[in-house]
Symmetry: D2
C-alpha cells in the first residue's frame, strides 16, 4: 500500500496500542505498521512514510507518556487529529499449564508495573519483576521461557500461544489510557461542539508567578484545562515547558483568543491540534465565553472606533 494509506503505531503487535488503533473506523482499510518506539512511529509520519501514527499520550495511573509529549513538543511539527480512550485491564499470561504458585518471575512494560503492583503484592509477593520493552514483548519472552508470566492485554495470548491465567487485573478503578492519532500539520477537523485543543508553551521567565500568566489566559476566557504536564526543556533543572489540553476548538473564538494570548505572552507556543473529544462531552461555557459573546465584543469595539459604541 502507499504511505497515504499507512498508519504506524507503537508496537509490537498485541499491545494495547494495537487494540486502540483497531478501534479507528478507517483502520480496516489501512495498513497498520507496528514500530519499535514512539519516536520511530512519529518519525515515519514526519518522513512521509505513513499518513498517521497512533501513540499513547496519557495514562490515568502513570500520567503523561513522556516520549509522546516530548516528541510532539520538539522536532518537525506534528498535529493530533483524533483521540482514543481505552480502559486498562491486564491479563496474566503464562505458558499452558503454569500454575500461579509456580510463578517466580514476571515481566511487562514498565508502565504496566505500577498498574498491577498491588495485585502482585497480594497475589505474587515473591515474584521478581523485570521490565520488558512492551507488554507484547513480555508475552514473547514468556513464550521463549525467559520469564514465567507476563502482564499484557488478554488479546495478546493467542498471538504468543499463551494461556490467560488471570484476567481483568488493574489496581486502580477506571484506569484508562488515552491514545492520539498524529499526522503532519493540516487543517484541523471541523468543530463538533465537543472538542479538545492541545498546545505546548514555553514560559518567558522561570519565576514564581510565571506560570500564573498563561493559566490566566485560559481562566479569563473560561476555557477549562483538561491536562497539564510540566516537562523539562532540556535547558537545565528548573526550566520547563507545559503541555496542556483544553476544552474547545481553535475555531471557537475563546480558544483562538487564548492561543493568541499565549503566543504574545510566552517565549514560544506550539499548536498541537483541535480534535473531537473521545467522550463527546460538550464544554460548559460561562457567560462571556460563547462565540456570540466574542463576536458581540468585537463588533462593539469596532463600533466604538467609529463613534457608534
Amino acid at each position: 500500500m502507499s504511505p497515504a494509506s499507512r498508519f504506524t503505531y507503537l508496537g509490537p503487535e498485541g499491545t494495547f496500542t494495537e487494540a486502540a488503533v483497531r478501534t479507528l473506523p478507517e483502520a480496516a482499510t489501512r495498513e497498520l505498521v507496528p514500530m519499535v518506539s514512539v519516536p520511530a512511529a512519529l518519525d515515519a509520519v514526519r518522513a512521509g512514510e505513513a499518513a498517521g501514527a497512533l501513540v499513547p499520550i496519557e495514562n490515568s495511573v502513570e500520567g503523561g507518556v513522556t516520549a509522546t509529549i516530548d516528541e510532539l513538543a520538539s522536532g518537525e511539527p506534528l498535529m493530533i487529529y483524533r483521540e482514543v480512550l481505552l480502559p486498562i485491564a491486564f491479563a496474566l499470561l503464562v505458558r499452558p499449564g503454569t500454575r500461579l504458585e509456580e510463578i517466580k518471575t514476571v515481566t511487562g512494560h514498565p508502565v504496566a508495573q505500577p498498574q498491577v503492583r498491588r495485585w502482585l503484592a497480594a497475589n505474587l509477593p515473591d515474584a521478581l519483576w523485570e521490565s520488558a520493552a512492551s507488554n507484547a514483548d513480555g508475552a514473547r519472552l514468556v513464550q521463549e521461557g525467559r520469564y514465567d508470566a507476563a502482564f499484557a492485554g488478554e488479546f495478546a495470548a493467542a498471538t504468543y500461544g499463551l494461556d490467560v491465567l488471570v484476567s481483568d487485573i488493574h489496581d486502580a478503578e477506571n484506569a484508562e489510557t488515552r491514545f492520539v492519532l498524529v499526522g503532519r500539520p493540516a487543517r484541523p477537523p471541523a468543530p463538533t461542539g465537543a472538542d479538545k485543543t492541545s498546545v505546548v508553551f514555553w514560559l518567558r521567565e522561570d519565576t514564581s508567578g510565571a506560570l500564573l500568566e498563561p493559566l490566566q489566559e485560559f481562566a479569563s476566557r473560561g476555557v477549562n484545562l483538561m491536562r497539564i504536564e510540566s516537562r523539562p526543556t532540556g535547558e537545565g533543572i528548573g526550566r520547563y515547558c507545559f503541555s496542556v489540553d483544553c476544552e474547545g476548538h481553535i475555531q471557537d473564538r475563546r480558544v483562538a483568543d487564548v492561543l493568541m494570548g499565549l503566543k504574545r505572552g510566552c517565549r514560544a507556543v506550539r499548536f498541537l491540534g483541535s480534535y473531537p473529544r473521545a467522550d463527546a462531552r460538550p464544554a460548559t461555557l460561562g457567560p462571556g465565553a460563547s462565540d456570540e459573546a466574542f463576536s458581540a465584543a468585537a463588533d462593539w469595539v469596532a463600533r466604538c472606533m467609529d463613534g457608534r459604541g
Copy 2:
C-alpha cells in the same frame, strides 16, 4: 454663533475651568458659554446646543469630580476628545483695602477648601469657612460684602474688582486639575502614540474577587491603569461601577483587546473615548503588548487553523 462653534464649560466666568478652556487652541474661534453645573454643561452638548463641553474630571487633591464621572457613566452617551491639565494655585481675593487680620469669613468652592485647609489653619485659624457654588461665585460674594475673602484663581480678581491679598496658595505640591473636553460620540481622534482611553464598567457580581477579573484584563495585556474610580451604581450600598483611564488608544490592539475582554466579562461597559495625553508621554510596552505582537499572534492562529502553524 451656531451650536457647532459653541463650547460650554463649568462656569461661572473667572473659574479655573474657564482658564482651562482658554488653553484650547480652538477656543479663540469658539463661543465660550459658562453653565451653572457640570450636568448643565454636558446636557447642552447632548441637546446639540454646543459642540463640546469642558468640565473638570479629576483633581490631584480632591480626587475624581463625581458629577462629571457620574454624568459620563449615565444618560445619553458622550465621549472625551481632549484633556487639559492645569496646575492649581489659589489667590486670596479681598475687597480693596482689606488686611489679613481683618478677615473673619472666607469662601470658595467646596473643592477648594481641602486644598487651602493647611494654609487657612496656619494663617487664618479663626476665620469661618463657608462654601460657595464656585470659586468665582465666592469672589462675587466678597464683592457684595457677604464674605471678607474668597479663594479663587488670580485671574478672577479683575472681573470682580477685588485685590489679590496672597497668591500661589496650595497645600499640596504639584496639585493640578484635569479637565476633559466632551462631545457627542464620533470617531476618536487619531492615535498619537501617547494616548489615553477612558471606560466605565459594571461588574457582573459584587463579590470579593469580582474586581480582580477586569483588572486582569488590563494587566494581562500590559495596559497600565492611570486612574480608577469606584462609583456607586445607585442600586444600593455596596454596588459599584468603575471608571478608569488606561494608557493607549482603542486603535492599539492591546487596548481593543482589553475592551473586548471587559465587554465579555462585565455586566456593562461604556467606552468614553481615546484621546491624546496632555503630558504627551508615550506608554511603555512590555513584550507581547505591541501591535506587532498582536498581529503576529493573530496571524499565527490563522495559520494554525490552516495547518500551517
Copy 3:
C-alpha cells in the same frame, strides 16, 4: 458634661447626621454637639474634647463622603466603632403658605442635589438650585427668605418654622446613607459574628497590576469586599490609596491574615477598625476560610516543623 460623655456630629442641628446619631442607644445620655465640618467633628475627638464623632461615610447615590474618608486616612489615627444606616428621603420645606408654583429658587446640601435632581426636573424644571453648607443650613436660609424652598429631612421643618410641602422625595429607590461612629484608637468591640473591618492601603507601585495584589490578599482568604474607594494621595494625579471595608472582624483569622498580607505587600496600611454590621448579616465563608481552618493549618505547619506533619 465631660468630654468623655460628649459626641460630636456633622452639624448643624436638623441634618440627617443628627437623626443618625440619635439612633445610637447611648445618645440619650450623651451631650450631642454639632460641628461645622467633618474635620472639625473628628478633630474634637483627636483633641480629647469628645469621646466620639458621628460622620457620614458613604451614600448609595453619591458614593463615598470624601472628607470623612480622607480624614480617616490621614492625620492622627482614629477608629470606627459603630455604623448606622439611614434611609434617605427628603422633604421640600417652604415658608408657611408658599405654593409649589411659586418656587423660583431651591437650596440644600450639595450631596442632596443629585438625589433630588430628577424630582426637580419633573416638578420644578425652572427653579434655580444653589448649594447650602448643609441641608439644615438650607432650611435656615429659607426661613430667612433667601431661597424659596429647601431640601432637608422632614424633622428639620419644626426647628426652622417651615412647612413640609412635599415629603419622601428620593430619585433612587433604596437610597441610604451610612454613618460611622469614630473614636480614638482602642481595642475594637468584640466580634459578633456579623462584623465589618475597614482599612486603608497605599500601593507600593502605581502600575497596572499593582492593585491586583492587595485585592488577591482578600480573595485568596475568601474575605468579601463591601466597599472600595480609590482616593488620591495628594502626591499627584495617578497616585491613589484605597479605602475598603471587608466582611469579618480582625479577630477572625482570615481577616487578620489579610491585614498581615496588606501590611507586608503595601507601602502603608492603616487599620480603621472592626465593628458590628448595621445589617447584622453574617459573612458567608467558603471552605478554608473559617477560624477552624486557619487553626488547623497553623497546627499542621507546626507539626510539620516537628516532623509530625
Copy 4:
C-alpha cells in the same frame, strides 16, 4: 550493621544513584544497600530497615522520576533531608575488543535512551535499542553477551569487566540528575539560608482556574517555585496532584505562610521536607517576604487588636 546505619539506594551497584549516594559525607560510615526499585528502596525506610534511601527525583532531560514522586505522594509519609546533583554523562561499554561498527544492539535504562538518542542516531543509526532494568543491569547483559553495548556510567565498566569504548556521551549540555535522601518524618534540618521545601497538593476542584489559587499562594508571598510536576491522582484522566519544590525553609515565615495557605485551600497537602539546596544559592527576597516583614506584620495586627495599630 544496624538499620540505623543503613542507607538503601536505587540499585543495582554501578548506577548513577550509587555514584550519588557515595557523595554523601556519611556514606563512608553507612552500609549502602542497593534495591531493585524506588518503591523497594523507600519501603525499606518505611519498614525501619534503613535510616535513609537515596533515589533519583528529577532529571534535566527526562523530567520528574515518576516512581519517586508518586511514592513520596502516597503511602506512609516520608521526608526529604538532602539533595544531590550529579552531572549526567554516559559511557558506551562493550566487551573488550568490540569495535563501534560491530555494534548491532545497545541497551541501558529507559531513562538513558532519550539522553543518548541523538548520539545514537549520529553514530549508530542502525543499532537496535532495547531497555534494561537499569544502566548497570544493561552492563551485566552486555557482559553476558545478550547485547553488544550498554550505556552506563563510566564507573560501571570495571564491575562488569567491560571496556569504555566512548565516554562523556550526553545529548544535552548541562544535563544533570537530582537525587534526594529520604527518611521517616522528623524535624527538618535547620535552615541554612539556602534551602528548598518540597510539598504535594491536591486541588479541591478540577476546573480551569483551580491551579491558579495554590500558585498564587506562592506568588503572593514572593516564594519562587523551582519545580512543578503534575501527576495523575489515579482517580481518572484529568485528575491531578501537583508536586512542587520552592525556595526557602518551613521555618522561613513566608514558606510557613504558603504552606498554611495550601493547607486551607487545597483538598490535601503533604509536606515533603525542607532541606539545604545542593547549589547553596540563597533565595532572593522581594519586599515584604523577609522574616522581619512577617514578624512586623504580625506584630502590627496584634497591636491593632489592642487599639495600638
